[in-house]
């Protein structure tokens, strides 16, 4: 059993410490003695044919511009992988590009790769600050910094409900989006650093595909949980 983690566009989309999500996953695999390998895929690189977890992070507008065309080239393969149940975690800028489109403040349309049932348009004000959100298995804390407002399409599911902060659009209390094994979120922090439950959810889903009988054993998360207790009590 060996998991394959693919990190999309580390070179172009890396501004808010989201690389940490990969390090958290690697740490949690290492702690359990599960073997893994990591492939970094930047603009122009081929996407590996087989992957278990694909992650992507936030970037600057210029970074998003750089990856956009390349991402469209990878669209068919990524869509197929998503359908096959490959686990994906996309944060902020990459989250937006996994939707159908992004309409900028100048009414230009940036095409997404249409994997998550979301659509994004530029908002007037940048949404910046601490975020706390909850779902059935985890309290998720992080930091958001985005001007795009993302709306879930009918019938789609958010990752969590906002307790503090703006989330997808500041209006409907939704944060992020989940479809099958594809997760999207605006939360930096990095988001997995203080949500071991979410990190394990990703790992569990990935392992279920390759080794259905494998049970993820518990590891000591007391430090992460204590850190979250501090974080949820910080002001917006």
């Amino acid at each position: 059993m060996k998991l394959h983690i693919v990190h999309l566009y580390q070179k172009e989309m890396n501004i808010y410490g989201d690389t940490g999500n990969r390090e958290v996953l690697e740490y949690r695999l290492k702690s359990r003695g599960i073997e893994y390998k990591t492939t970094i895929v930047n603009v122009g690189d081929d996407l590996p044919m087989e992957a278990d977890i694909i992650i992507g992070g936030g970037g600057q507008d210029s970074g998003q511009f750089l990856v956009q065309e390349d991402l469209l080239k990878k669209k068919d393969q990524l869509q197929k992988m998503a359908k096959d149940g490959v686990v994906m975690l996309m944060v902020c800028g990459m989250y937006q590009l996994f939707g159908d489109k992004f309409i900028t403040s100048k009414k230009e349309e940036i095409k997404g790769i249409d994997i998550l049932p979301i659509t994004t348009r530029a908002g007037k004000k940048r949404l910046i600050g601490n975020v706390v959100a909850k779902n059935t298995y985890s309290t998720i804390v992080g930091y958001e910094n985005h001007s795009g407002l993302t709306y879930l399409k009918d019938g789609s599911t958010s990752l969590a409900e906002v307790v503090l902060g703006a989330g997808n659009n500041g209006k409907d209390k939704s944060e992020g989006c989940v479809l099958n094994n594809v997760f999207g979120t605006y939360m930096h922090g990095p988001v997995l650093s203080k949500s071991p439950e979410l990190a394990d959810e990703l790992l569990r889903r990935a392992l279920k595909r390759s080794s259905p009988a494998y049970k993820l054993e518990k590891i000591d998360d007391s430090l992460e949980i204590e850190a979250r207790k501090v974080a949820v009590n910080r002001p917006r």
């Binding site: 808010y16 410490g17 922090g189």
Partner: protein, 422 residues
């Protein structure tokens, strides 16, 4: 009107100080409201004008080096190196340093301004020169994106009347030169040093390339613990008594600014002045404890600066390493930058954490396989860090507000903090 403003401002300042209050902001705020021209008229009196130092990292140290160089050459220098890094702060500084008869007995002002406040200032008063250091990842919650920061620096540089000093190795700064009409002075480092100074684009790019597009007026050729080599028309060896590669480059930036101001560089005098320079507030200051042990204080504000200053651990044998992370506005509210910082070289060291977000720091270290002792109460942390034998040393990395608190606690424990007081 200016005289009345001065009188009001200085009176408020005097009363605040009598009450033991910090007078860095309020007097400036009052005068900003009642007399828009006061600062402009006052600064216009300076014969050699106003120089603005801006960029992500190294502003305070470069401002201090440039001020020391100018003072050593006989200039009377007005500078804001103890804070007040915004327009109001500059007004307060001018009020403070003017005589009650409204004389400002200085030749030149060297002002450290961050990118956002720098734009406000430059729109209000055209500086004579602008020194731009670097554009690296900073507090993202504040400026949003690095490219936006570059836009701000461009706006400041465009307002320069006479010259702009630019770090040629910074791709974003190099680009702004196309938009400038004043004379540009370029500085940078030699290709041999490319692995030491990483631009932001190379943060996650293993194939570090040497970026340079312009011929340098002044270049850092090499540096060691006590000396650095600078190439102008010919090469010079100069004393280097600040630690860290980035400070070697800050010296070159200051020398380039000096060349722009003076038109020439007198390396005999420069050598003497540089041999006497001390680190700026919290930027590598070394505090000597009663028994002779040493504690170094290192301000960290962003991943680029933190990564660079972590190399101090390789260059020195610290017995204890402390990290204090706060998340107030001045520290950066978002702590995700700790994950753009690589702590792997702290392995096999005794590491202690504290500060509001000490557990975020501890988790980050844990994920990199580094164990730390985590002390919630900052007072206990400081006591632990200064518990050293006479021949031992420690380094404490602190975010901005953490630095202020650590210094205050050090003073309470009876340690005399040399250099700039609180």
């Amino acid at each position: 009107m200016n005289y009345i403003s001065l009188f009001i401002g200085k009176t408020v300042m005097l009363f605040m100080r009598l009450m033991g209050r910090n007078a860095n902001t309020l007097p400036g705020l009052i005068i900003e409201r009642i007399n828009k021209k006061y600062l402009k008229d006052s600064l216009s009196k300076l014969e050699k004008g106003v120089i603005v130092v801006t960029g992500t990292n190294g502003k305070t140290t470069t401002t201090k080096i440039l001020s020391s160089l100018l003072e050593g050459l006989g200039y009377r220098v007005l500078t804001n190196q103890t804070g007040g890094n915004y327009v109001r702060g500059v007004i307060s500084l001018v009020l403070d340093k003017s005589s009650w008869t409204n004389k400002l007995n200085y030749d030149i002002a060297i002002l450290e301004l961050d990118e956002a406040h720098g734009v406000h200032f430059a729109n209000y008063f055209n500086p004579t020169g602008v020194v731009t250091l670097n554009i690296l990842r900073d507090q993202m919650d504040r400026f949003g994106e690095i490219d936006k920061t570059a836009e701000l620096v461009k706006k400041i540089a465009k307002k320069a009347r006479s010259f702009v000093v630019i770090n040629s190795n910074d791709p974003r700064l190099s680009k702004i030169s196309n938009h400038l009409s004043s004379r540009i002075y370029w500085y940078g480092y030699a290709e041999d040093l490319k692995d030491v100074f990483i631009s932001d684009d190379q943060h996650y790019d293993k194939n570090v390339k040497y970026f340079i597009e312009h011929k340098l007026d002044l270049s850092l050729e090499s540096y060691s613990k006590n000396a650095l080599n600078v190439k102008a028309e010919k090469s010079y060896q100069l004393p280097f008594n600040l630690s860290g590669s980035y400070n070697a480059l800050n010296i070159v930036a200051a020398l380039t600014a000096l060349k722009a101001i003076e038109g020439k560089l007198d390396f005999v005098k420069i050598e003497k002045i540089l041999s006497e320079i001390k680190p700026a507030f919290g930027r590598g200051e070394i505090i000597k404890l009663a028994n002779g042990a040493k504690v170094q204080l290192q301000l960290v504000k962003n991943p680029s600066g933190f990564n660079q200053s972590l190399s101090l651990v390789n260059e020195n044998n610290f017995d204890k390493i402390g990290i204090v992370i706060n998340d107030r506005y001045a520290d950066g509210r978002d702590v995700s930058w700790l994950y753009d910082t690589d702590f792997k070289n702290l392995k096999d060291n005794q590491v202690f954490t504290s500060g509001i977000r000490y557990l975020d720091m501890a988790v980050r270290l844990k994920h990199q396989g580094i164990e730390s002792k985590n002390i919630e109460e900052l007072r206990n942390f400081v006591e632990e860090l200064i518990d050293l034998k006479e021949d031992q040393s420690a380094i404490i990395y602190c975010t901005y507000t953490a630095m202020l608190e650590v210094r205050r606690l050090l003073r309470k424990t009876g340690v005399s903090v040399e250099g700039v007081g609180l």
